[in-house]
């Protein structure tokens, strides 16, 4: 028997790590992976609350989050490839214009 709060603390920690990675990392791919870490933290609290409230809707939401994450990854990695093709760098400090 694990209290619900333990799951929420773990989820919050993963989300905080994602935010910190988003701020600290300079590599655009690693920044993207930090976003995935944040989404995973949110998914954990969805599943924990689903078990707590006895409602399967929480688990269905996880699928929607996964679909959005997959779509975001596909488009984001394509944008990263396009940026690399014109800038020859992955450092976000050197990518300061949206124009390709």
């Amino acid at each position: 028997m694990v209290p619900l709060s333990y799951y929420l603390v773990l989820s919050g920690f993963l989300f905080a790590c994602g935010v910190a990675g988003f701020l600290i990392k300079r590599n655009i791919i690693t920044i993207f992976m930090s976003i995935e870490l944040m989404l995973n933290g949110v998914n954990l609290s969805f599943v924990a609350f689903a078990a707590h409230w006895h409602s399967l809707a929480g688990q269905v939401f996880v699928f929607f989050v996964m679909v959005v994450a997959a779509a975001e990854t596909a488009v984001g990695l394509a944008i990263i490839i396009a940026v690399y093709r014109t800038r020859e760098t992955l450092n976000v400090d050197q990518v300061n214009l949206l124009k390709l």
Partner: protein
């Protein structure tokens, strides 16, 4: 200490270690591998909560498909060790204390106010049959909308990643 709590702590330790390793590593491929470890351990947590189908999808889609896409991109772009700049030093200065403060605050509030009501292992069996019925009856409209979203995302990825059309010889655009 029950076996359930022991398993939770074991998977949780892998999650925490992987998340910290993601921040500590400077090479993106190491960060990607530690993120895969986090996702696999999260699948274990989902199994403890009784969400079997979500755990399977987590391993197949997240740790499998999405992370393979990341690793392929890292190898395609030949990403090297990231360089530190002045901007990132300021981010470290504010990011790490902010992260610690945020997680301590969230942990304190949650542990203080949410009570000690325990979630029993496998409390809510999330088998594919029940989930599918819910997904295709109550959540049919969001399901269809996400299918349109993912179609648009596929087309956008193809358009963005395709090589720009080469201009005819002798012509400067």
């Amino acid at each position: 200490m029950s076996i359930h709590l022991l398993l939770f702590l074991a998977f949780g330790a892998v999650c925490v270690a992987g998340a910290i390793n993601l921040l500590a590593q400077t090479h993106p491929i190491n960060s990607a591998l530690s993120l895969i470890a986090v996702m696999a351990a999260l699948a274990g947590e989902y199994l403890l909560l009784g969400a079997e189908f979500v755990a399977a999808v987590q391993v197949i889609v997240y740790a499998g498909a999405i992370m393979v896409l990341f690793v392929f991109t890292i190898m395609l772009l030949n990403a090297g060790v990231e360089e530190r700049t002045t901007g990132s030093r300021v981010a470290v200065l504010f990011g790490i204390p902010g992260m610690l403060l945020g997680s301590i605050l969230v942990g304190w509030v949650v542990l203080r106010h949410s009570g000690t009501e325990a979630v029993p292992a496998g409390a809510l069996p999330g088998d594919p049959r029940t989930l599918g019925q819910l997904l295709f009856h109550e959540f049919l409209l969001p399901f269809e909308i996400t299918s349109v979203l993912i179609l648009i995302a596929i087309m956008g990825a193809v358009v963005l990643a395709s090589k720009p059309p080469t201009s005819p010889a002798g012509k400067v655009d």
